[in-house]
């Protein structure tokens, strides 16, 4: 019989209820819970203290972002892009995500977030490389500290945690901001990443763009949670619920989360409530799963319109300024068009060059085979 098999008869009598010894609440849950409604700045009292220069900067980025979306969509029609997942309607969250970061910080975009990458300074032609189809990642991630666009949903989140953790271990002042969609929050990797981040107190900000749909699947079929931001408490990190179309609110909440992370207080989960105005991608038919009426209710809550109202009321915006922003956006679009109209220079031998640091014998043989085939092709073409 083991030493445990005799119940502690002798202790009987000293009967006073005690909680189980191990149990101590390690975090007060109250401050972790999100506001009952999405936080807003534009059109509310909070706007009074917002910085004018920042609002104007955000406005310019929104206009450029909208133009970028339109241009990229147009490029799919011209066959210059294989596919484009648009962020029309989501520009506020996209540009805010980029603007709150410092130079040394890292952005971890999902496949949809090319705009955030562009707003962080990445050449849009490079940002669209994946979707053009000449290579998987069109840019050097170290150039602007932007991780490769992640297609497998939520898999980039643990990367952000690991990178932020590594930077902290090295004593570097680096925050990682990772983006994911509402659908992506259902994946196991979302859970594991948030848990690691909280346990390690890693300087990460998780930004969920809740745009209402995962392709055709509405949020109600994705989660029964009060909000996605409520998931934060289960990891012991604060959850923030924000109006994702309010660029000022997004900027404020994300800045605050980035500051918390930078100061060593650990991760934050931010849910941006927004809407995808276009179909999932140009290849999708959104009429199969949502009504025009629903789309229209969101058009009335357009991020650019919200910002224009605010700026106009403050007297910061007039038709001239609007015109100037639009012209800048047009120039940007023209440059993108020009860049995308140039055919990429492709070298099929690249297929074998980067599988390993040093090519294996097997790959050398296969490369030789392809080279011979290409030479034979050229020979024939002559």
């Amino acid at each position: 019989m083991s030493k445990h098999s005799t119940p502690v008869m002798e202790q009987r009598g000293a009967h006073q209820p005690t909680p189980p010894p191990a149990w101590k609440p390690r975090t007060d849950p109250a401050p972790l819970l999100p506001d009952p409604e999405p936080y807003r700045v534009l059109g509310t009292d909070a706007a009074d203290t917002a910085d004018s220069a920042l609002l104007l900067k955000l406005y310019g980025e929104l206009v450029r972002g909208r133009r970028y979306n339109a241009q990229a969509t147009a490029l799919t029609k011209q066959g210059r892009l294989a596919v484009y997942p648009s962020t029309t309607g989501q520009e506020a969250a996209e540009v805010a995500a980029a603007l709150v970061l410092q130079e040394q910080d890292w952005l971890f975009p999902s496949y949809r977030d090319t705009l955030a990458a562009v707003a962080r300074g990445l050449d849009p032609v490079k940002a669209l490389g994946l979707l053009r189809g000449d290579w998987h990642t069109g840019y050097d991630p170290y150039e602007h500290r932007i991780a490769p666009l992640s297609t497998p949903l939520a898999t980039q989140l643990p990367h952000a945690v690991g990178l932020a953790h590594a930077a902290r271990l090295k004593g570097d002042d680096v925050v990682a901001l990772a983006m994911v969609g509402d659908g992506g929050t259902s994946e196991g990797d979302f859970h594991e990443a948030l848990n690691f981040a909280a346990v390690w107190k890693a300087p990460v900000v998780f930004l969920v763009q809740n745009n209402g749909f995962a392709i055709s699947v509405p949020l109600a079929k994705q989660t029964a949670a009060p909000s996605i931001a409520h998931k934060a408490v289960g990891y012991g990190m604060p959850g923030r619920l924000v109006d994702g179309n309010d660029a000022a609110a997004m900027h404020e909440v994300l800045s605050e989360a980035v500051r918390r992370a930078r100061e060593g207080h650990g991760p934050t989960l931010v849910e941006a409530v927004t809407y995808r105005m276009d179909a999932h991608t140009n290849a999708d038919d959104a009429t199969r799963y949502r009504t025009d009426a629903e789309v229209e209710t969101w058009r009335a809550h357009d991020p650019i319109a919200l910002m224009e109202r605010e700026l106009t009321e403050r007297g910061l915006l007039d038709d001239e300024r609007i015109q100037a922003e639009r012209e800048a956006a047009e120039e940007f679009a023209a440059a993108l068009r020009a860049g995308m109209n140039a055919d990429p220079v492709l070298d099929p031998m690249d297929l074998f060059r980067h599988v390993y640091a040093e090519q294996t014998t097997q790959l050398r043989e296969q490369a030789a085979q392809l080279r011979a085939e290409l030479e034979a092709e050229q020979e024939q073409a002559r």
Binding site: H136, A214, I215, L351, L363
Partner: protein, 341 residues
């Protein structure tokens, strides 16, 4: 909700239609069949294979799940434990990977673990392979992982008729089946046998798609039409090629394959999946074990390169095409010069 199979319905013209019809007929005939996955309901799937089924059979039978592949497959396991016959759609090949632990540690092992007391009659549909200009993670040929996992059946149709027949058979199977749907054949049309549209081939029988005397091309799925084309082209070079469509990788039809190779004395295995550690090695090795003294040359392989699947603009260089197959045939030591070794 249950509808009878409509035997007067139009014959499917494409593989996509055949798959849809197989799902509809299975749903109609057997109330325990449930279709589930990401976007399979309202949208009808990103490839529209399940189009209209949610409307016809209701959302309880054709269900849009949350976006979580391990959860989908794990829930399907539980449903199968309770006697349902789930048909799970993985949206793309690479998006089946999050479900691998469920697949390997549970789906493949449940019957064995319980000495047959608990079987898992579930079908996992995986649109797979390249050739459609997909960005990364949308064109993987992952059959090597599946065939190395005992307890799974692994099936891949190459024709419209087989798409129907094999999917019906997979859903009817009392064991889990990985049903690999060659994406780029979704819109392919070919002959459909109007005599027996609902005929259900048992899983595990290969078929000789083309008779020939010079050498055997052993292939399956998206590479079958390529091999047929290669066989046509080979005639000009004086080779009369036989084409064996495996249809099922597990179980493997040694009999049909070896009978062919013994007849022709030469063989090339063709698949899109990477060569190293891919199915071709297994096939070449077992054919050689069984037919060694009939072989005039080593069994060669034409496969995808051992690289991550290429970006759209380069994929044509990766895919095994007619020329590469003919090159391999040419290396089958027709003059027994021993130059290979």
């Amino acid at each position: 909700m249950t509808t009878a199979v409509d035997r007067t319905a139009r014959k499917p013209a494409t593989m996509a239609q055949a798959l849809q019809r197989a799902l509809r007929d299975s749903l109609a005939e057997d109330p325990s069949v449930h279709v589930m996955g990401e976007d399979v309901g309202t949208l009808g799937g990103v490839f529209r294979i399940t189009d209209g089924l949610a409307k016809e059979f209701g959302e309880d039978r054709v269900t849009d799940t949350p976006l979580a592949e391990a959860g989908i497959l794990g829930a399907a396991v539980g449903m199968a434990m309770y006697g349902l016959r789930p048909v799970v759609e993985m949206q793309f090949d690479a998006f089946a990977y999050p479900a691998f632990e469920q697949l390997i540690s549970h789906v493949a092992k449940m019957r064995n673990r319980t000495k047959g007391a608990m079987s898992l009659p579930l079908t996992i549909r995986v649109p797979y392979g390249g050739g459609i200009g997909g960005v990364e993670h949308h064109s993987d040929s992952s059959e090597a992982y599946y065939i190395a996992t005992p307890g799974l059946h692994v099936v891949a149709p190459a024709t419209v008729a087989d798409a129907y027949g094999l999917l019906r058979a997979s859903i009817a199977s009392d064991d889990p089946v990985i049903f690999l749907e060659p994406k780029r054949l979704y819109w392919s049309k070919d002959s459909w046998n109007p005599e027996a549209p609902e005929s259900v081939e048992p899983i595990g029988k290969a078929v000789v798609r083309r008779r020939g005397r010079s050498a055997t091309l052993i292939t399956y799925g998206p590479s079958v039409p390529v091999c047929m084309e290669a066989a046509e082209a080979a005639q000009a070079e004086g080779w009369d090629l036989e084409v064996v469509d495996l249809r099922s990788l597990v179980p493997f039809d040694d009999e049909t394959v070896c009978a062919s190779v013994r007849r022709t004395g030469r063989a090339v295995v063709v698949h899109e999946s990477g060569g190293f550690g891919g199915p071709g090695g297994e096939i070449a090795a077992r054919v050689t074990e069984r037919c060694f003294h009939h072989l005039e040359a080593p069994v060669l392989r034409v496969a995808g390169f051992d690289i991550p699947y290429p970006p759209p603009m380069l994929e044509r260089h990766h895919l095994p095409g007619v020329d590469r197959i003919l090159d391999a045939v040419a290396r089958l030591q027709w003059e027994s010069d021993g130059g290979m070794s």
